[in-house]
Symmetry: C2
Subunit: 261 residues, 2 copies
DNA sequence: TCAAGTTGATTTCTCAGACAAATGCTATCT
DNA sequence: AGATAGCATTTGTCTGAGAAATCAACTTGA
Protein backbone atom coordinates (compact mmCIF):
# COMPACT_ATOMS: atom_id res chain seq x y z
CA UNK A 1 0.00 0.00 0.00
CA UNK A 2 2.19 2.83 -1.27
CA UNK A 3 1.80 6.21 0.35
CA UNK A 4 0.38 9.02 -1.73
CA UNK A 5 3.34 10.96 -2.96
CA UNK A 6 3.10 14.72 -3.37
CA UNK A 7 3.91 14.59 -7.07
CA UNK A 8 1.20 12.04 -7.63
CA UNK A 9 -1.31 14.34 -5.99
CA UNK A 10 -0.53 17.29 -8.20
CA UNK A 11 -0.06 15.13 -11.26
CA UNK A 12 -3.48 13.60 -10.64
CA UNK A 13 -5.13 16.53 -12.35
CA UNK A 14 -6.49 18.01 -9.14
CA UNK A 15 -5.26 21.38 -8.00
CA UNK A 16 -2.74 21.26 -5.20
CA UNK A 17 -5.27 20.93 -2.45
CA UNK A 18 -2.77 21.32 0.40
CA UNK A 19 0.69 22.48 1.20
CA UNK A 20 2.44 19.91 -0.98
CA UNK A 21 3.89 17.95 1.87
CA UNK A 22 7.33 16.51 1.51
CA UNK A 23 7.75 12.79 1.36
CA UNK A 24 8.61 12.27 5.01
CA UNK A 25 5.66 14.40 6.09
CA UNK A 26 3.35 12.48 3.79
CA UNK A 27 4.49 9.22 5.29
CA UNK A 28 4.08 10.61 8.79
CA UNK A 29 0.55 11.76 8.04
CA UNK A 30 -0.23 8.43 6.45
CA UNK A 31 0.98 6.44 9.45
CA UNK A 32 -0.43 8.99 11.89
CA UNK A 33 -3.89 8.66 10.39
CA UNK A 34 -3.73 4.88 10.64
CA UNK A 35 -2.76 5.14 14.29
CA UNK A 36 -5.32 7.69 15.48
CA UNK A 37 -8.04 6.04 13.43
CA UNK A 38 -7.44 2.80 15.30
CA UNK A 39 -6.14 0.82 12.33
CA UNK A 40 -2.82 0.46 14.16
CA UNK A 41 -3.74 -0.05 17.79
CA UNK A 42 -1.60 0.79 20.82
CA UNK A 43 0.90 -1.98 21.33
CA UNK A 44 0.94 -2.84 17.65
CA UNK A 45 4.45 -3.28 16.29
CA UNK A 46 5.05 -1.69 12.92
CA UNK A 47 6.81 -3.61 10.17
CA UNK A 48 10.59 -3.30 10.27
CA UNK A 49 12.19 -0.33 8.61
CA UNK A 50 13.41 -2.30 5.61
CA UNK A 51 10.12 -4.04 4.99
CA UNK A 52 7.98 -0.97 5.70
CA UNK A 53 10.03 1.37 3.52
CA UNK A 54 9.99 -1.27 0.81
CA UNK A 55 6.21 -1.57 0.90
CA UNK A 56 5.83 2.20 0.73
CA UNK A 57 8.37 2.36 -2.10
CA UNK A 58 10.48 4.93 -0.29
CA UNK A 59 13.98 4.96 1.10
CA UNK A 60 14.74 3.90 4.61
CA UNK A 61 15.86 7.39 5.58
CA UNK A 62 12.60 9.00 4.48
CA UNK A 63 10.66 6.38 6.41
CA UNK A 64 12.86 6.83 9.47
CA UNK A 65 12.33 10.59 9.44
CA UNK A 66 8.59 10.01 9.38
CA UNK A 67 8.81 7.65 12.35
CA UNK A 68 10.96 10.18 14.18
CA UNK A 69 8.22 12.80 13.69
CA UNK A 70 5.57 10.46 15.04
CA UNK A 71 7.78 9.63 18.01
CA UNK A 72 8.14 13.37 18.67
CA UNK A 73 4.35 13.54 18.87
CA UNK A 74 4.19 10.64 21.29
CA UNK A 75 2.41 8.30 18.89
CA UNK A 76 5.12 5.64 18.64
CA UNK A 77 8.25 4.53 20.43
CA UNK A 78 11.25 2.85 18.82
CA UNK A 79 13.66 0.44 20.48
CA UNK A 80 16.38 -1.68 18.98
CA UNK A 81 15.49 -5.30 18.54
CA UNK A 82 11.91 -4.70 19.72
CA UNK A 83 10.96 -2.51 16.79
CA UNK A 84 8.66 0.49 16.60
CA UNK A 85 5.40 0.12 18.48
CA UNK A 86 2.33 2.30 18.82
CA UNK A 87 2.29 3.99 22.21
CA UNK A 88 -0.54 3.96 24.72
CA UNK A 89 -3.12 6.66 24.08
CA UNK A 90 -2.12 8.45 27.26
CA UNK A 91 1.25 9.09 25.68
CA UNK A 92 -0.20 10.73 22.58
CA UNK A 93 0.18 14.49 22.31
CA UNK A 94 -3.49 14.98 21.53
CA UNK A 95 -3.21 18.76 21.58
CA UNK A 96 -0.53 18.73 18.91
CA UNK A 97 -2.06 20.48 15.89
CA UNK A 98 -1.20 17.63 13.54
CA UNK A 99 -2.45 14.90 15.84
CA UNK A 100 -5.65 16.83 16.49
CA UNK A 101 -6.16 17.36 12.77
CA UNK A 102 -5.62 13.66 12.15
CA UNK A 103 -8.10 12.74 14.88
CA UNK A 104 -10.73 14.97 13.34
CA UNK A 105 -9.90 14.06 9.77
CA UNK A 106 -12.29 11.13 9.83
CA UNK A 107 -15.64 10.92 11.53
CA UNK A 108 -14.69 11.77 15.10
CA UNK A 109 -16.32 9.67 17.77
CA UNK A 110 -19.02 11.23 19.87
CA UNK A 111 -16.95 10.88 23.02
CA UNK A 112 -14.01 12.65 21.42
CA UNK A 113 -16.26 15.50 20.36
CA UNK A 114 -17.53 15.80 23.90
CA UNK A 115 -14.00 15.79 25.24
CA UNK A 116 -12.99 18.67 23.03
CA UNK A 117 -16.04 20.73 23.89
CA UNK A 118 -15.50 20.04 27.56
CA UNK A 119 -11.99 21.44 27.26
CA UNK A 120 -13.25 24.46 25.35
CA UNK A 121 -15.94 25.03 27.97
CA UNK A 122 -13.24 25.16 30.61
CA UNK A 123 -10.65 27.21 28.77
CA UNK A 124 -12.35 29.68 26.49
CA UNK A 125 -14.67 31.53 28.90
CA UNK A 126 -11.73 32.17 31.23
CA UNK A 127 -9.59 33.08 28.25
CA UNK A 128 -12.23 35.57 27.13
CA UNK A 129 -12.22 37.14 30.58
CA UNK A 130 -8.44 37.45 30.56
CA UNK A 131 -8.53 38.78 27.02
CA UNK A 132 -11.01 41.45 28.10
CA UNK A 133 -8.53 42.60 30.70
CA UNK A 134 -5.39 42.53 28.57
CA UNK A 135 -6.47 43.10 24.99
CA UNK A 136 -5.02 46.00 23.08
CA UNK A 137 -6.48 47.94 20.17
CA UNK A 138 -4.77 45.78 17.58
CA UNK A 139 -6.33 42.61 19.00
CA UNK A 140 -9.67 44.35 18.83
CA UNK A 141 -9.25 45.38 15.21
CA UNK A 142 -8.23 41.89 14.11
CA UNK A 143 -11.23 40.40 15.89
CA UNK A 144 -13.59 42.99 14.44
CA UNK A 145 -12.25 42.35 10.96
CA UNK A 146 -12.66 38.60 11.44
CA UNK A 147 -16.27 38.97 12.50
CA UNK A 148 -17.04 41.22 9.55
CA UNK A 149 -15.59 38.64 7.19
CA UNK A 150 -17.54 35.96 9.02
CA UNK A 151 -20.77 37.85 8.48
CA UNK A 152 -19.93 38.39 4.84
CA UNK A 153 -19.24 34.77 3.95
CA UNK A 154 -21.12 32.73 6.61
CA UNK A 155 -19.54 29.62 8.12
CA UNK A 156 -21.02 27.50 5.35
CA UNK A 157 -18.08 28.35 3.11
CA UNK A 158 -14.38 28.01 3.71
CA UNK A 159 -13.69 31.75 3.91
CA UNK A 160 -16.23 32.10 6.70
CA UNK A 161 -14.77 29.22 8.67
CA UNK A 162 -11.32 30.76 8.36
CA UNK A 163 -12.71 34.03 9.71
CA UNK A 164 -14.28 32.14 12.60
CA UNK A 165 -10.95 30.51 13.39
CA UNK A 166 -9.16 33.86 13.14
CA UNK A 167 -11.54 35.36 15.68
CA UNK A 168 -10.93 32.66 18.26
CA UNK A 169 -7.19 32.66 17.59
CA UNK A 170 -6.90 36.38 18.08
CA UNK A 171 -9.00 36.20 21.22
CA UNK A 172 -6.66 33.66 22.75
CA UNK A 173 -3.68 35.68 21.57
CA UNK A 174 -5.07 38.67 23.44
CA UNK A 175 -4.62 36.76 26.70
CA UNK A 176 -0.85 37.30 26.37
CA UNK A 177 -0.40 33.86 27.91
CA UNK A 178 1.99 31.76 25.78
CA UNK A 179 0.53 28.48 27.00
CA UNK A 180 -3.02 29.47 26.21
CA UNK A 181 -1.88 30.75 22.84
CA UNK A 182 -0.20 27.44 22.18
CA UNK A 183 -3.48 25.69 22.81
CA UNK A 184 -4.91 27.88 20.07
CA UNK A 185 -3.15 26.30 17.16
CA UNK A 186 -4.35 22.85 18.05
CA UNK A 187 -7.87 23.65 19.10
CA UNK A 188 -8.37 26.05 16.22
CA UNK A 189 -7.39 23.34 13.76
CA UNK A 190 -9.83 20.94 15.38
CA UNK A 191 -12.68 23.42 15.49
CA UNK A 192 -12.07 24.30 11.88
CA UNK A 193 -12.26 20.66 10.86
CA UNK A 194 -15.28 20.31 13.09
CA UNK A 195 -17.23 23.15 11.51
CA UNK A 196 -16.54 21.49 8.21
CA UNK A 197 -17.88 18.29 9.71
CA UNK A 198 -21.07 20.02 10.81
CA UNK A 199 -21.40 21.49 7.35
CA UNK A 200 -21.00 18.00 5.91
CA UNK A 201 -24.21 16.88 7.52
CA UNK A 202 -26.37 19.89 6.86
CA UNK A 203 -25.88 23.61 6.47
CA UNK A 204 -26.14 25.48 9.73
CA UNK A 205 -29.62 26.86 10.22
CA UNK A 206 -28.91 29.18 13.12
CA UNK A 207 -26.73 32.23 12.57
CA UNK A 208 -23.83 32.06 15.06
CA UNK A 209 -22.81 35.65 14.47
CA UNK A 210 -24.83 37.45 17.18
CA UNK A 211 -23.18 35.64 20.09
CA UNK A 212 -19.78 36.28 18.54
CA UNK A 213 -20.50 40.00 18.47
CA UNK A 214 -21.64 39.89 22.09
CA UNK A 215 -18.29 38.38 23.08
CA UNK A 216 -16.53 41.02 21.03
CA UNK A 217 -18.44 43.86 22.63
CA UNK A 218 -17.67 42.59 26.11
CA UNK A 219 -13.97 42.42 25.31
CA UNK A 220 -14.12 45.83 23.68
CA UNK A 221 -15.66 47.23 26.86
CA UNK A 222 -13.06 45.37 28.96
CA UNK A 223 -15.94 43.80 30.86
CA UNK A 224 -14.35 40.58 32.09
CA UNK A 225 -17.47 39.10 33.62
CA UNK A 226 -19.62 39.68 30.57
CA UNK A 227 -16.83 38.30 28.36
CA UNK A 228 -16.81 35.12 30.41
CA UNK A 229 -20.55 34.55 30.37
CA UNK A 230 -21.04 35.46 26.73
CA UNK A 231 -18.26 33.12 25.66
CA UNK A 232 -19.74 30.33 27.75
CA UNK A 233 -23.03 30.91 25.97
CA UNK A 234 -21.32 30.89 22.58
CA UNK A 235 -19.82 27.48 23.23
CA UNK A 236 -23.08 26.15 24.65
CA UNK A 237 -24.81 27.13 21.44
CA UNK A 238 -22.02 25.63 19.34
CA UNK A 239 -22.57 22.33 21.12
CA UNK A 240 -26.28 22.36 20.37
CA UNK A 241 -25.43 22.92 16.71
CA UNK A 242 -23.57 19.64 16.50
CA UNK A 243 -25.54 17.09 14.49
CA UNK A 244 -25.64 14.63 17.35
CA UNK A 245 -28.59 12.56 18.46
CA UNK A 246 -27.81 12.42 22.13
CA UNK A 247 -24.84 13.34 24.29
CA UNK A 248 -23.68 10.49 26.51
CA UNK A 249 -23.32 10.98 30.25
CA UNK A 250 -20.05 9.10 30.31
CA UNK A 251 -17.72 7.83 27.64
CA UNK A 252 -15.75 5.09 29.30
CA UNK A 253 -16.25 3.01 26.16
CA UNK A 254 -14.47 5.48 23.95
CA UNK A 255 -11.65 4.08 21.92
CA UNK A 256 -9.42 6.91 23.04
CA UNK A 257 -10.08 6.03 26.65
CA UNK A 258 -10.30 2.26 26.52
CA UNK A 259 -7.03 1.46 24.78
CA UNK A 260 -4.06 1.73 27.04
CA UNK A 261 -1.17 -0.27 25.73
CA UNK B 1 30.66 22.68 19.86
CA UNK B 2 30.01 18.94 19.77
CA UNK B 3 26.84 17.65 21.34
CA UNK B 4 27.14 15.49 24.42
CA UNK B 5 26.90 11.94 23.18
CA UNK B 6 25.14 9.32 25.30
CA UNK B 7 28.26 7.15 25.54
CA UNK B 8 30.27 10.08 26.76
CA UNK B 9 27.80 10.70 29.53
CA UNK B 10 27.99 7.17 30.88
CA UNK B 11 31.70 6.90 30.22
CA UNK B 12 32.21 10.11 32.13
CA UNK B 13 32.11 8.20 35.38
CA UNK B 14 28.68 9.51 36.38
CA UNK B 15 25.81 7.13 36.77
CA UNK B 16 23.40 7.14 33.84
CA UNK B 17 21.42 10.10 35.01
CA UNK B 18 18.68 9.78 32.41
CA UNK B 19 17.26 7.43 29.84
CA UNK B 20 20.42 7.24 27.77
CA UNK B 21 19.07 9.20 24.86
CA UNK B 22 19.99 8.14 21.36
CA UNK B 23 22.15 10.40 19.28
CA UNK B 24 19.33 12.04 17.33
CA UNK B 25 17.40 12.71 20.53
CA UNK B 26 20.48 14.20 22.14
CA UNK B 27 20.95 16.55 19.22
CA UNK B 28 17.27 17.49 19.31
CA UNK B 29 17.46 18.27 23.01
CA UNK B 30 20.65 20.21 22.48
CA UNK B 31 19.17 22.35 19.72
CA UNK B 32 15.82 22.56 21.48
CA UNK B 33 17.43 23.97 24.60
CA UNK B 34 19.27 26.57 22.59
CA UNK B 35 16.04 27.63 20.94
CA UNK B 36 13.78 27.87 23.99
CA UNK B 37 16.54 29.49 26.01
CA UNK B 38 16.74 32.29 23.46
CA UNK B 39 20.23 31.48 22.21
CA UNK B 40 18.72 30.78 18.78
CA UNK B 41 16.02 33.39 18.34
CA UNK B 42 12.92 33.12 16.17
CA UNK B 43 13.87 33.89 12.59
CA UNK B 44 17.42 32.69 13.12
CA UNK B 45 18.59 30.43 10.31
CA UNK B 46 20.52 27.39 11.46
CA UNK B 47 23.74 26.42 9.75
CA UNK B 48 23.29 24.18 6.72
CA UNK B 49 23.03 20.46 7.24
CA UNK B 50 26.55 19.77 6.12
CA UNK B 51 28.13 22.47 8.22
CA UNK B 52 25.96 21.86 11.28
CA UNK B 53 26.41 18.10 11.29
CA UNK B 54 30.13 18.66 10.78
CA UNK B 55 30.36 20.99 13.78
CA UNK B 56 28.48 18.52 15.95
CA UNK B 57 30.66 15.68 14.66
CA UNK B 58 27.67 13.60 13.66
CA UNK B 59 26.34 12.32 10.37
CA UNK B 60 23.90 14.27 8.31
CA UNK B 61 21.17 11.68 8.81
CA UNK B 62 21.36 11.88 12.60
CA UNK B 63 21.25 15.67 12.40
CA UNK B 64 18.35 15.60 9.97
CA UNK B 65 16.33 13.31 12.23
CA UNK B 66 16.90 15.72 15.08
CA UNK B 67 15.69 18.64 12.97
CA UNK B 68 12.67 16.61 11.93
CA UNK B 69 11.79 16.08 15.59
CA UNK B 70 12.09 19.78 16.33
CA UNK B 71 9.94 20.57 13.31
CA UNK B 72 7.32 18.14 14.63
CA UNK B 73 7.27 20.18 17.83
CA UNK B 74 6.84 23.43 15.92
CA UNK B 75 10.21 24.86 16.93
CA UNK B 76 11.73 25.07 13.45
CA UNK B 77 10.67 25.01 9.83
CA UNK B 78 12.75 23.72 6.93
CA UNK B 79 12.52 24.86 3.33
CA UNK B 80 14.76 24.11 0.43
CA UNK B 81 17.10 26.89 -0.48
CA UNK B 82 16.00 29.00 2.51
CA UNK B 83 17.36 26.59 5.09
CA UNK B 84 16.03 25.68 8.54
CA UNK B 85 14.87 28.62 10.59
CA UNK B 86 13.55 28.97 14.12
CA UNK B 87 9.79 29.46 14.07
CA UNK B 88 7.86 32.26 15.75
CA UNK B 89 7.06 31.51 19.38
CA UNK B 90 3.38 31.27 18.54
CA UNK B 91 4.18 28.21 16.47
CA UNK B 92 5.94 26.39 19.28
CA UNK B 93 4.07 23.49 20.84
CA UNK B 94 4.64 24.79 24.34
CA UNK B 95 2.51 22.08 25.89
CA UNK B 96 4.62 19.34 24.36
CA UNK B 97 6.26 17.53 27.31
CA UNK B 98 9.75 17.86 25.85
CA UNK B 99 9.38 21.54 24.97
CA UNK B 100 7.94 22.28 28.38
CA UNK B 101 10.76 20.41 30.06
CA UNK B 102 13.29 22.35 28.00
CA UNK B 103 11.64 25.65 28.88
CA UNK B 104 11.81 24.84 32.58
CA UNK B 105 15.26 23.29 32.40
CA UNK B 106 16.94 26.62 33.00
CA UNK B 107 15.79 29.41 35.23
CA UNK B 108 12.32 30.03 33.87
CA UNK B 109 11.34 33.65 33.51
CA UNK B 110 8.84 35.10 35.92
CA UNK B 111 6.33 35.71 33.18
CA UNK B 112 6.53 32.11 32.02
CA UNK B 113 5.93 30.92 35.56
CA UNK B 114 2.89 33.13 35.80
CA UNK B 115 1.62 31.84 32.48
CA UNK B 116 1.81 28.25 33.61
CA UNK B 117 0.12 28.95 36.94
CA UNK B 118 -2.58 30.88 35.16
CA UNK B 119 -3.28 27.86 32.98
CA UNK B 120 -3.29 25.56 36.00
CA UNK B 121 -5.65 27.93 37.81
CA UNK B 122 -8.05 27.62 34.91
CA UNK B 123 -7.76 23.91 34.24
CA UNK B 124 -7.16 22.06 37.46
CA UNK B 125 -10.06 23.25 39.63
CA UNK B 126 -12.50 22.32 36.86
CA UNK B 127 -10.63 19.07 36.30
CA UNK B 128 -10.95 18.30 39.99
CA UNK B 129 -14.68 18.89 39.82
CA UNK B 130 -15.01 16.59 36.83
CA UNK B 131 -12.80 14.01 38.50
CA UNK B 132 -15.03 14.08 41.56
CA UNK B 133 -17.96 13.19 39.36
CA UNK B 134 -16.29 10.48 37.28
CA UNK B 135 -13.56 8.95 39.43
CA UNK B 136 -13.62 5.25 40.13
CA UNK B 137 -12.19 3.32 43.05
CA UNK B 138 -8.92 2.61 41.29
CA UNK B 139 -8.30 6.32 40.69
CA UNK B 140 -8.97 6.89 44.36
CA UNK B 141 -6.52 4.22 45.48
CA UNK B 142 -3.74 5.50 43.24
CA UNK B 143 -4.26 9.02 44.53
CA UNK B 144 -4.35 7.88 48.15
CA UNK B 145 -1.17 5.90 47.66
CA UNK B 146 0.52 8.90 46.06
CA UNK B 147 -0.40 11.16 48.98
CA UNK B 148 0.86 8.62 51.49
CA UNK B 149 4.18 8.46 49.67
CA UNK B 150 4.22 12.24 49.51
CA UNK B 151 3.79 12.48 53.25
CA UNK B 152 6.48 9.88 53.80
CA UNK B 153 9.17 11.55 51.72
CA UNK B 154 8.15 15.25 51.59
CA UNK B 155 8.53 17.24 48.38
CA UNK B 156 12.07 18.14 49.33
CA UNK B 157 13.36 14.87 47.90
CA UNK B 158 12.84 13.34 44.48
CA UNK B 159 10.59 10.51 45.65
CA UNK B 160 8.20 13.01 47.19
CA UNK B 161 8.09 15.12 44.05
CA UNK B 162 7.31 12.03 42.00
CA UNK B 163 4.47 11.21 44.37
CA UNK B 164 3.18 14.76 43.99
CA UNK B 165 3.24 14.42 40.22
CA UNK B 166 1.53 11.03 40.41
CA UNK B 167 -1.30 12.53 42.44
CA UNK B 168 -2.00 15.29 39.93
CA UNK B 169 -1.62 12.92 36.99
CA UNK B 170 -4.09 10.44 38.40
CA UNK B 171 -6.50 13.24 39.22
CA UNK B 172 -6.49 14.43 35.63
CA UNK B 173 -6.76 10.83 34.45
CA UNK B 174 -9.89 10.47 36.52
CA UNK B 175 -11.60 13.08 34.36
CA UNK B 176 -11.78 10.47 31.57
CA UNK B 177 -11.20 13.32 29.12
CA UNK B 178 -8.39 12.40 26.70
CA UNK B 179 -7.53 16.02 25.99
CA UNK B 180 -7.24 16.93 29.64
CA UNK B 181 -5.19 13.80 30.23
CA UNK B 182 -2.91 14.82 27.40
CA UNK B 183 -2.31 18.13 29.12
CA UNK B 184 -1.18 16.11 32.12
CA UNK B 185 2.04 14.80 30.68
CA UNK B 186 3.26 18.23 29.76
CA UNK B 187 2.11 20.14 32.79
CA UNK B 188 3.19 17.38 35.15
CA UNK B 189 6.70 17.50 33.69
CA UNK B 190 6.79 21.25 34.14
CA UNK B 191 5.47 21.19 37.67
CA UNK B 192 7.96 18.51 38.56
CA UNK B 193 10.83 20.62 37.26
CA UNK B 194 9.29 23.60 39.01
CA UNK B 195 9.14 21.97 42.43
CA UNK B 196 12.78 21.10 41.93
CA UNK B 197 13.35 24.76 41.11
CA UNK B 198 11.64 25.89 44.29
CA UNK B 199 13.72 23.41 46.24
CA UNK B 200 16.82 24.85 44.59
CA UNK B 201 16.28 28.18 46.29
CA UNK B 202 15.27 27.03 49.73
CA UNK B 203 13.55 24.04 51.23
CA UNK B 204 9.80 24.44 51.43
CA UNK B 205 8.79 25.70 54.84
CA UNK B 206 5.07 25.10 54.63
CA UNK B 207 3.76 21.53 54.44
CA UNK B 208 1.63 21.27 51.26
CA UNK B 209 0.09 17.97 52.29
CA UNK B 210 -3.07 19.17 54.12
CA UNK B 211 -4.57 20.89 51.08
CA UNK B 212 -3.80 17.83 48.98
CA UNK B 213 -5.75 15.66 51.38
CA UNK B 214 -8.65 18.12 51.30
CA UNK B 215 -8.81 17.77 47.52
CA UNK B 216 -8.63 14.02 47.86
CA UNK B 217 -11.45 13.90 50.40
CA UNK B 218 -13.67 16.03 48.21
CA UNK B 219 -13.10 13.71 45.25
CA UNK B 220 -13.61 10.67 47.46
CA UNK B 221 -16.95 12.11 48.56
CA UNK B 222 -17.81 12.96 44.93
CA UNK B 223 -18.37 16.53 46.07
CA UNK B 224 -17.73 18.45 42.84
CA UNK B 225 -18.04 21.92 44.32
CA UNK B 226 -15.70 21.24 47.21
CA UNK B 227 -13.24 19.56 44.83
CA UNK B 228 -13.19 22.72 42.72
CA UNK B 229 -12.67 25.15 45.57
CA UNK B 230 -10.12 23.04 47.43
CA UNK B 231 -8.07 22.58 44.26
CA UNK B 232 -8.21 26.32 43.59
CA UNK B 233 -6.89 26.87 47.09
CA UNK B 234 -4.13 24.30 46.57
CA UNK B 235 -2.88 26.12 43.51
CA UNK B 236 -3.16 29.50 45.19
CA UNK B 237 -0.93 28.25 47.98
CA UNK B 238 1.51 26.72 45.51
CA UNK B 239 1.87 30.13 43.89
CA UNK B 240 2.66 31.77 47.21
CA UNK B 241 5.36 29.17 47.75
CA UNK B 242 7.23 30.28 44.67
CA UNK B 243 10.41 32.13 45.63
CA UNK B 244 9.38 35.22 43.78
CA UNK B 245 9.73 38.79 44.93
CA UNK B 246 6.73 40.26 43.17
CA UNK B 247 4.29 39.02 40.57
CA UNK B 248 3.98 41.38 37.61
CA UNK B 249 0.61 42.72 36.56
CA UNK B 250 1.38 42.21 32.92
CA UNK B 251 4.18 40.46 31.07
CA UNK B 252 4.24 42.07 27.66
CA UNK B 253 8.02 42.21 27.94
CA UNK B 254 8.40 38.46 28.21
CA UNK B 255 10.73 36.88 25.73
CA UNK B 256 8.10 34.28 24.95
CA UNK B 257 5.66 37.02 24.09
CA UNK B 258 7.86 39.63 22.55
CA UNK B 259 9.61 37.56 19.92
CA UNK B 260 7.47 36.87 16.92
CA UNK B 261 9.89 36.79 13.98
C1' DT C 1 10.63 50.72 -19.50
C1' DC C 2 8.88 46.82 -17.62
C1' DA C 3 6.88 42.23 -17.46
C1' DA C 4 7.70 37.46 -18.23
C1' DG C 5 10.46 33.76 -18.81
C1' DT C 6 15.40 31.53 -18.35
C1' DT C 7 19.34 30.25 -16.16
C1' DG C 8 22.29 29.36 -12.25
C1' DA C 9 23.44 28.59 -7.56
C1' DT C 10 22.26 26.89 -3.08
C1' DT C 11 19.92 24.26 0.18
C1' DT C 12 17.11 20.67 1.66
C1' DC C 13 15.27 16.22 0.10
C1' DT C 14 15.67 11.48 -1.29
C1' DC C 15 18.05 7.44 -2.33
C1' DA C 16 21.35 3.46 -1.70
C1' DG C 17 24.36 0.48 0.86
C1' DA C 18 27.26 -0.61 4.63
C1' DC C 19 28.54 -1.29 9.38
C1' DA C 20 27.71 -0.45 14.57
C1' DA C 21 25.08 -0.89 18.72
C1' DA C 22 21.53 -2.67 21.52
C1' DT C 23 18.78 -6.38 23.09
C1' DG C 24 15.72 -10.43 23.38
C1' DC C 25 16.34 -15.36 22.85
C1' DT C 26 18.59 -19.70 23.35
C1' DA C 27 21.92 -23.00 24.35
C1' DT C 28 25.41 -24.03 27.47
C1' DC C 29 27.86 -24.37 31.66
C1' DT C 30 28.11 -24.52 36.70
C1' DA D 1 17.80 -24.03 38.39
C1' DG D 2 20.20 -20.04 37.58
C1' DA D 3 23.77 -17.52 35.58
C1' DT D 4 26.33 -16.69 31.34
C1' DA D 5 27.94 -16.51 26.82
C1' DG D 6 26.90 -16.44 22.16
C1' DC D 7 23.47 -15.58 18.28
C1' DA D 8 20.15 -13.35 15.62
C1' DT D 9 17.34 -9.40 14.73
C1' DT D 10 16.13 -4.68 14.70
C1' DT D 11 17.03 0.03 15.06
C1' DG D 12 20.84 3.35 14.98
C1' DT D 13 24.66 5.73 12.59
C1' DC D 14 27.70 6.80 8.82
C1' DT D 15 29.04 7.90 3.98
C1' DG D 16 28.38 9.51 -0.61
C1' DA D 17 25.66 10.65 -4.46
C1' DG D 18 22.03 12.82 -7.17
C1' DA D 19 17.20 14.98 -7.41
C1' DA D 20 14.02 18.57 -6.47
C1' DA D 21 12.82 23.08 -4.98
C1' DT D 22 13.51 27.86 -4.83
C1' DC D 23 15.63 32.40 -4.53
C1' DA D 24 18.29 35.74 -7.19
C1' DA D 25 20.11 37.50 -11.24
C1' DC D 26 19.86 37.79 -16.01
C1' DT D 27 17.84 37.76 -20.53
C1' DT D 28 14.38 38.47 -23.70
C1' DG D 29 10.47 40.55 -25.91
C1' DA D 30 6.73 43.91 -26.43
Amino acid sequence: MPVIKPEQVTAGGERKNRKELRLHSSIARDLGLRIVSGRYRPGHVLAGEIEASGQLKVSRSAYREAVRMLAAKGLVQSRTRTGTRVSAVEQWHLLDPDVLAWVFAGEPELEVLQGLFELRTIIEPEAAAIAAARRNDENLEVMRNALERMGLHTVNVEAGRIADRDFHSELLRATRNPFIISLTNGVAAAVHALTEFKQREHALKRDPLPEHWRVFEAIEAKDTERARTSMAELIRLAITDMPVKRWPDNWTDSRLVRDSG
